[in-house]
Structures are given as C-alpha cells and as structure tokens.
C-alpha cells in the first residue's frame, strides 16, 4: 500500500492513454511525457503502458506501506527517500514505512515540469474503457476518476517482488535534444487552416518565441506571443482533433491541445505539434518559452522512429542490468 501524504493537487494516475472511445466523446488522456512513463516502466520490467503517478505540483509526498521498487523519471525533482537524496531517471528500492518526497524541479532553464513515479507492476487501478488513465472531465478511470489527494491509498501490482534496482538512464532531454537559438523547440506539421492566416502571422509563428501562460494544464497550453491573424474570420464545423493540435481562437493567441484535450473542436487549426515531440511540451514549465519548427510528413514519421529506437535501446540496457549478477 502507498499512502499519499500531500494535499497538493493535480497528481493523477496515467498510462499511455485510452483509445477506442473517441466516438463516445472520450478523449485519450494519458501521460503528458510518454517517454518518461514508458522508460520508467521498462526499467522496472513492467509493460511500457503500465499506470504510474504523474506529479505536476510540488512538494509531493507519499509513504510506502510495504517494500516496493520504483523508478523516478520525467522532471528532476530533488527526490528524497526519508533523508536520502535519490538520483533522477533511476530505479530505487523503498522499504516499508519509508517516505518519498519530490521537491520543485531543478536544472535551471533545462528543468522539466512533471515527475513520473512508476511502481513495480504498475499502479493497480481498474481498467475503464480500455485504460487506467484518469479521465478528469468524465470523472472516471485512474484513482476514482479524479486527481490524488492526501490520504488516498494506492496499490502497486508488483509490490514486494524482487526487482533489479540501482541503475538508471540518461534522460531523453539530453540524448534527443531539440532547440532553436537556445530555446526549447517542437516540430509542427501545418494543418488545414494554415493557409487561411496572414503571411506575416505565418512567418511570426515560426520566427517568434511563445510563452506558455499560467492558464496551461493537461487540457491545453495557452500561449502568448504575436497574435495570429486570419485573412478572414473562420467558423469551422466541429471535427475530430488530437493532442498536439494548435487551435487559434478569435483572440489570435494559440492553444495547443494536450493529453486531456477534447476529442473534437471547432477553432481553426494552424498546425499540429508532432506526436514524437509532445513529450517535450509535456515537460515545458509554465512561464517558459518555446519555438516552433516546420516539419514534413517524412521527417515526422522519422521522428517517431527515433523515439521508438530510444525506447528499444532502453529495453536492451534494462535487459543487461536485469540479467547481470546482483551485487550486494
């Protein structure tokens, strides 16, 4: 058993997301940083899509009620197990009664914004419509369909099991970096209404820095920058959208749909942040600035391959550690 000791809100149980229910109006949810989730799970010998705890607000504390191996990935949160500092992107062993504390993300300009706490065997919550992810809008999935709060008790499906611990990974922010002029960047495929914007706005979109405003969360990131002006007002019919779609409401300030996004919308679509780069955005802190890089279909598919190759490498590395003789 694992008891949540923090009242800090917005930590949720997430897996790789819910597919198959879009036609009922159910969005995918799922981890904001899928690389952190998948890598943390692989390090523990879990399936890549086992459920974990995503923590966006700090400090966050929990107590292990029994021995449990865990992996910390995502943002480096100066974690401590009781008083002992822990390495980020590393597999650790907790003993019954120990308290895990996650502090504010560190790392200066390179810091992330969300920690992912993966547990041996995954967080044991019921599968609802094919996933363990929390559907906040629909109030189902995850832990009772809501964010975690103080006093909640979760179970790790593999608590007490022997797990190879004491090894780690170089985080993908270092091995798969992407910046433009020193500013974190993501790649974007133009979408249907892109030609419907003024040429100056299109140029400004690629050339400018965009601030992630305080009104940004798992649903979407509201950006601030030079307003994007359509050639003529556009009223769209409601249509399916996916995480990554950049909508431009009448204000001209874009909104990037994130993992809790609605599965449909009606604002004009400027472009889509490619799936292979959405984890970068998932780690971008509020108040930070990002740049957009125009990409092509072939590059976007290759970027997905690059992410998969990184995960394959993680899997091989983990296999080496797990099969190595244990040192005591």
């Amino acid at each position: 058993m694992i008891e949540v000791l923090s009242s800090s809100a917005l930590a949720t149980v997430q897996d790789l997301g819910r597919t198959g229910s879009l036609r009922w109006g159910v969005g995918t949810s799922g981890a904001m940083d899928k690389l952190a989730l998948a890598a943390g799970n692989l390090m523990l010998g879990n399936d890549a899509d086992a459920a974990a705890i995503e923590v966006p607000v700090f400090p966050f504390k929990l107590r292990f009620g029994q021995d449990c191996a865990f992996a910390l990935t995502g943002a480096d949160c100066a974690a401590r197990l009781d008083a002992q500092p822990l390495m980020p992107w590393w597999v650790h062993q907790a003993r019954a009664g120990q308290v895990l504390t996650l502090g504010p993300p560190q790392g200066g300009a390179q810091r992330g914004s969300r920690a992912m706490l993966c547990l041996a065997g995954g967080v044991d919550v019921p599968v609802v419509l094919g996933s363990r992810s929390t559907q906040l809008r629909g109030a189902f999935g995850g832990h009772e369909g809501r964010a975690l709060r103080r006093g909640d008790v979760l179970r790790a499906a593999g608590a007490g099991q022997a797990c190879a611990t004491g090894f780690g990974l170089v985080p993908p922010a270092l091995t798969l970096p992407l910046q433009v002029d020193g500013v974190p960047a993501v790649r974007v495929l133009p979408a249907a209404e892109y030609p419907g914007f003024e040429e100056a706005s299109r140029a400004a979109f690629w050339a400018g820095e965009w601030k992630i405003t305080a009104q940004s969360d798992r649903y979407g990131y509201r950006l601030a920058g030079e307003a994007l002006r359509p050639l003529a007002p556009m009223e769209m019919r409601s249509h399916g959208i996916v995480p990554g779609v950049i909508q431009v409401p009448h204000s001209g300030q874009p909104i990037i749909q994130m993992r809790d996004a609605q599965p449909s919308g009606g604002y004009p679509k400027f472009g889509t942040v490619i799936e292979a780069d959405l984890w970068r955005l998932g780690q971008a802190p509020i108040g930070s600035r990002i740049r957009f890089v125009e990409t092509t279909w072939d590059e976007a598919v290759a970027a997905l391959d690059e992410v998969q190759a990184w995960l394959d490498k993680v899997e091989r590395l983990v296999e080496l550690h797990r099969s190595a003789p244990r040192k005591n």
Partner: protein
C-alpha cells in the same frame, strides 16, 4: 466558408481529417456515417470518428511515406464517392430547459449578435427536433444538426474556463448540451438536467448518432 469539393488534411502523424463539401446537411452526415462504417475496417485505421459533416481517422500506424499517405487519401476520396447515405433512425429524447438567467449567462450575447429578443431566440431554439450527428467534445456530448441559422452566434473570443454540465449552448451554427462541467468556447443560453454518460454501461453514452433531441421550454428567466 462552403467548400465545393471534399478535402483531407493532416492532424500531425496521429490522424487524418476528411471534410464533406457543401452546406451542413443531414444527407451529407448520413454519407459520413456510411464512410465511418467502411473505413473502420481498414487496417491503417484505429478509430473512425464522425464529426459534423466530417470524419477523423486515427492511425494504427502512420503511413511510412508521403506516397503511402497519398494512396490512403486517394482511397478515402474514392470511398466517399461510393458512399451511399446510411439513414440511422433512433429514438427521440425530450430535455426540459430553463432558458436565460443564471443558467444562461451568454443569452445577452446571442441577443446582441442576432438582434432577436429572448422570446424569439427561445422559440427558434426549442422549435426543431434535432438529430444527433455525432458525439464528441467530452464523454456523452452530442453534436446536433438542424439549428435555425437565424440564432447562429460565433464562438466566444476567449473560451470560458468552465461551464456546468447540462449547459445548453450555441457555437457558430450549432447547438448542444454539455454532459459534464468543463471549458467551452460556446455561448450558454440555458440549462437542463440529464445524465448522458456512464462508463459502466455498454454503450457508455445515452445517445447515438441518429437519435433525436427535443428541447421543451420549462421556464424563461429574464
């Protein structure tokens, strides 16, 4: 904007969006339903998701090359040309609505945009029987066809951070009822109470494409 030809556009590497040409129409939607049924069987397609006279196809795996992508788009256009209207016939569900007042905070915006009185807006909104074209937005939410264009009102300049479940609203030429509290860019003109979604049921949504909604005026608050 009325397109004369169907179009296909990209939603990143995750999905394609097919949009039917012409004015928003039930006959087009019936062909969209047929196209959804057809494409759901394609190996590249994870989910075929109808919208308002459009269809999103999410990929099991994105096509490997632009050539493969072009080929898929060509098949989609051909399937649209071959699609025959699928006339789904469902049940009629009546929803009692309190128009205006606290539950309809944007009624004044619809009044000022349309130049109509509250009574005229309520009469035009509660007159038709609205077919459910598609579900989307949030669990159990229905997109409806058939709203009188006289009460069409643009989506809000800045989305509202949260509107309650049961909110009856207008966004552009469409109307709908929110199934749970959440952000919205639409203009809320009234409120109703009805449970639209239960994940433990199969299907989890109360209404399906082809069902009909009728709004009954319970009260008009000035």
């Amino acid at each position: 904007m009325m397109a004369l030809l169907p179009s296909v556009s990209l939603l990143g590497t995750t999905a394609l969006l097919f949009e039917a040409p012409g004015e928003l129409a039930l006959s087009s939607q019936q062909r969209i339903w047929a196209l959804a049924r057809e494409t759901q069987g394609w190996p590249e397609v994870r989910e075929a998701v109808p919208g308002m006279n459009n269809l999103m196809l999410t990929f099991t795996q994105p096509p490997r090359t632009t050539q493969a992508l072009d080929a898929l788009e060509a098949r989609l256009y051909a399937a649209w040309d071959a699609a025959v209207a699928l006339p789904l016939q469902g049940r009629v569900v009546e929803l009692p609505v309190v128009y205006g007042g606290e539950g309809g905070p944007h009624m004044a915006d619809v009044v000022s945009h349309t130049g109509l009185s509250v009574e005229e807006i309520v009469a035009l909104h509660s007159g038709p029987t609205y077919p459910v074209y598609a579900l989307g937005s949030h669990p159990g939410y229905c997109y409806l066809g058939g709203m009188d264009p006289c009460i069409a009102t643009p989506r809000r300049k800045v989305p509202v951070l949260s509107i309650p479940g049961g909110a009856v609203s207008i966004g552009g030429a469409q109307t709908g009822v929110s199934a749970s509290a959440g952000p919205s860019g639409w203009n809320t003109i009234g409120t109703t109470s009805m449970s639209f979604f239960d994940p433990a049921q199969d299907p989890p949504a109360l209404l399906q494409p082809g069902d009909m909604i009728r709004f009954r005026v319970e009260r008009v608050v000035r």
